[in-house]
Amino acid sequence: MMQGFPILSAILALPLLGALACLLTGPRGARWIALVTTLATLLLCIGLWAAYRVGGPQWQFTEYQPVFGRFAWALGIDGIALMLIVLTAFLMPICIAASWTAIEKRVPEFMANFLLMETLMLGVFCAQDLYLFYIFFEAGLIPMYLIIGIWGGKDRIYAAYKFFLYTLLGSVLMLVAMLWMVNFAHTTFIPDLMATDFPPEAQTWLWLAFFASFAVKMPMWPVHTWLPDAHVQAPTAGSVILAGVLLKMGGYGFVRFSLPMFPEASAQLIWIIFALSMIAVVYTSLVALVQQDMKKLIAYSSVAHMAFVTIGLFAFNRQGIEGGLVVMLSHGLVSGALFLCVGVVYDRLHSREIAVYGGLSNNMPYYALLFMVFTMASVGLPGTSGFVGEFLSLVGAYAINSWVAAVATTGIILGAAYMLYLYWRIAFGAARTPDAAAMLDLSGRELAILAPIAAAVLWMGVYPESFLAPMRADVGLLLARIERAAPQGDAQPTAGTPAPVAPAHGAEAHH
């Protein structure tokens, strides 16, 4: 159907052209251009989803142009990338709409940066060439640095520096590992590299170098500290993109590089992942519990949720990996929506302090309802997307290490604690300040922003098959690739030796 048409290049080019157009217009024009561009990109991505053949070849919509000296413009997606692309394209128009009135200064530049960001994020998921991936991965720092630094809150400059330098330091080591891999394998083509067997002793170093980058990006404890700062200071739309998509790049990196390229090292160093994830789940949940700042609370909860992703992805079994991927998608929607919910009240009172709100269910019933849906999804209530992912992830983790599963499960309880506590303080009781009592309910625009996410969250919770189906074959291929190194689980159900059943006399007698 779409044979020959370079749809991925088109998807990448569209926001870029929109960004240029934004720079040439005034604030009003820029808003509309950005909205139309992101909607058109979303439309293209939905077309991509529709045209993607489940059960078809692993890599679809491939393009290959060796235009650069040392690498190629190689694009192509599998089901995992497809889902993340759709997530990105889905969140972008929402971000633009959320910034409609919140961003007042330098609007054209803001919209241009955002559209540039979209191109780069989509590029990360489309890239089929190692260096092309790196360039997209790294280039995202520039617009995000500007978004945080120009349109952020009070301590925006510190946060922008921290974000930039932290993530830069993580990824430069990955670049050296990439150079080594290309020198070893003589190819930059990711599918070829995924099939290359690197020597196990080298794998350890390569794995660690990639880990340095992805762990910062995820972020994993203890290198997560840039995230709360960046989230708190970034404008609402920036937080949504950060939580919704940028964090997913770390998880995507683990699935695309660390696991299939270094299976032995992944098995050997699995304890790092599990240890850090377990600490993250418990520690950041506890930290979230005591936060006074809504954005910070959600930021810490992101770190805890991302730990479920890493636990699942490194479980070396289908449930775990699929669970990790679903948590990624679900968290992208839910945390994005939660940041938008914060943005809604922030736009009214210009405060993120939990203490100034309260009793919003009285004067903002629609808001309270939607906020509750997202709170429940974040807690992992069955019927919401959060449940599917976390459940699968824990099932996978249990099969390999019951301790990890046990500790991670406490995260669900703690998650319920801090989210419900937050919701209680925001929505129930009496308003703590007169300003909070006077706030108006959601406007049409805000409703239009939040309702689609709520629908998606419920869809993923009720019928996750729509999202799992495109990824199933790819998870299968990944499993086939890593199973040779899979560590043995500690839960080994063994057949017991049941005592021989005594002959049932009565049965004969009654006949």
């Binding site: 040392r70 790294e138 630094g149 120009i150 922008a160 520096y161 330091l169 670049l175 050296v176």
Partner: protein, 484 residues
């Protein structure tokens, strides 16, 4: 013999041209300065066209001239094109900048031409004597250029400082040359290489160390960098732009040729020195820049930092390593000249040049396009993709990894994060902070065009030039390993 003279045609054209222009300058005075500048640029273009080793022009594929004193190969040709180009750009920049203060003088283009001849000799030197003569010709012109604004005490100080320290470096270099000559019995690179082939004696080792120390001064690699910030700060800004570009390329190319052609068999000996200088430069160039208040000092440390990365490529030795050095320097020149062209635009409301970094604050609001260009140069110098400045770093690190120096690549790339800090600090100033007083408006279409061209080159569009630049540097490096 005639063939020899054809091989040095570019040098002859530049030398006679410069002498004639000097006469004209003496005759016509400073009124002719603009005309002489354009004539100098024309001479540079003609010289570039006459370069041997490019496969066209009268000298064809090049060769070795004057009994092995002078090599006119593809390596020299590539370096000279970059050098002549950088010299021409700094001439244009100087004309506009001095012109505004009405103190542009006709000696300026002449001095630049002499420096260009010297730099040409440096990159073509295949004998220690040629090396020294070329280096001194370039240096003497540079000393005069540094103190070109005679009325400015800082400029005079910079010239003196440069001269004294430069003389010291020349002394060290000469001492090294004498040792190498004494222990190997020849000044020719090929002969030295042969003498080193059967083991490196202690005397030769000392010679190598001193020669490298002298050359490290010229590329301003740590620990021989201390003159750089002072001279860069004191010299008039267009002169600083020149210092940061063409002579750096010449010195780096010279260092590469000496290391490969003369000291090739002693690679293990000089590699340690180069690695130390490389890492020390990247670290110090990054750390020391952070506290700077003056944009020219900052760019001085930036050049030290960048030289460190180029040295990483040199440490890789081999053809890929040399090619990566050339690649690095040619992109570095564009980024640095672009940044300096923006700095040349920094003038307050009274049309006086300003040099404080703080005066860049809020530039994105007062001069959005200038700020955008500067931001691109800064991100590019920091080596952040998708800007083209990422690629030269990529090339040097690739060369290092291919030469089994993965640890060096890893350490050097980690130090690049330090450098990134102050580059993004400039971006922060221009984009995040409240505007400082706006700069005076300028009407210099040529300068604007050059900024635009450099910005386009460092933009992702530059990637389209990657392939051809890669091929050109590979050819150049190949010729170094296959002398005539």
């Amino acid at each position: 013999m005639l063939q020899d003279f054809i091989l040095v045609l570019p040098e002859e054209v530049l030398s006679t041209g410069a002498l004639l222009l000097m006469l004209a300058a003496a005759w016509a005075g400073d009124r002719s300065a603009a005309l002489l500048t354009w004539l100098s640029i024309l001479l540079l273009a003609v010289a570039a066209f006459l370069l041997p080793g490019l496969g066209f022009g009268p000298a064809g594929a090049g060769g070795s001239a004057f009994f092995g004193l002078f090599a006119a190969d593809a390596f020299a040709a590539f370096s000279k094109i970059v050098i002549y180009g950088a010299a021409a750009v700094s001439l244009v920049a100087a004309m506009g900048w001095f012109g505004r203060d009405r103190d542009y003088r006709a000696e300026y283009p002449v001095l630049i031409l002499f420096a260009a001849v010297g730099m040409g000799m440096m990159v073509s030197a295949s004998d220690l004597i040629t090396l020294y003569v070329g280096l001194e010709l370039q240096s003497l012109s540079a000393y005069v250029l540094a103190s070109f604004q005679r009325s400015d005490a800082r400029s005079a100080e910079a010239g003196l400082k440069y001269f004294v320290l430069g003389a010291l470096a020349s002394g060290i270099l000469l001492y090294g040359i004498s040792l190498l000559y004494g222990f190997s019995g020849t000044t020719q690179f090929g002969g030295i290489s042969a003498a080193l082939g059967d083991g490196v004696s202690t005397g030769e080792l000392f010679g190598i160390v001193f020669v490298l120390a002298g050359l490290a001064f010229k590329v301003s690699a740590v620990p021989f960098h201390m003159w750089t910030p002072d001279v860069y700060e004191g010299a008039p800004t267009p002169v600083t732009a020149f210092f940061a570009s063409a002579p750096k390329v010449a010195a780096m190319a010279l260092l590469a040729r000496v290391s490969v052609d003369a000291l090739g068999p002693a690679t293990e000996a000089w590699r340690q020195i180069v690695i130390f200088a490389a890492l020390a430069s990247t670290v110090l160039g990054g750390v020391a820049a952070i506290g700077q208040k003056n944009i020219k000092r900052l760019l001085a440390y930036s050049s030290i930092n960048n030289v460190g990365f180029a040295l990483v490529g040199l440490a890789a030795a081999g053809q890929a390593g040399v090619a990566s050095v050339l690649f690095y320097m040619s992109v570095y020149v564009v980024m640095t000249l672009g940044a300096f062209l923006v700095v040349l635009r920094m003038r307050d409301a009274n049309d006086q040049p300003v040099e404080t970094i703080a005066s860049l604050a809020g530039l994105s609001r007062t001069r959005p396009l200038l700020a955008l260009a500067m931001a691109m140069f800064m991100f590019s110098l920091a080596g952040i993709p998708p800007l083209f400045g990422f690629v030269p770093k990529f090339m040097v690190f690739t060369a290092a990894v291919e030469a089994n120096l993965t640890w060096l690549a890893a350490v050097a790339i980690a130090t690049s994060v330090i450098g990134a800090y102050y580059y993004i600090m400039i971006v922060k100033l221009m984009y995040f902070d409240e505007p400082a007083p706006a700069f005076a408006a300028t009407r210099e279409p040529v300068g604007t065009g050059l900024i635009l061209l450099s910005a386009l080159f460092v933009s992702p569009l530059g990637y389209l030039a990657w392939g051809s630049l890669d091929a050109a540097t590979q050819t150049a490096a190949w010729s170094l390993f296959h002398p005539f």
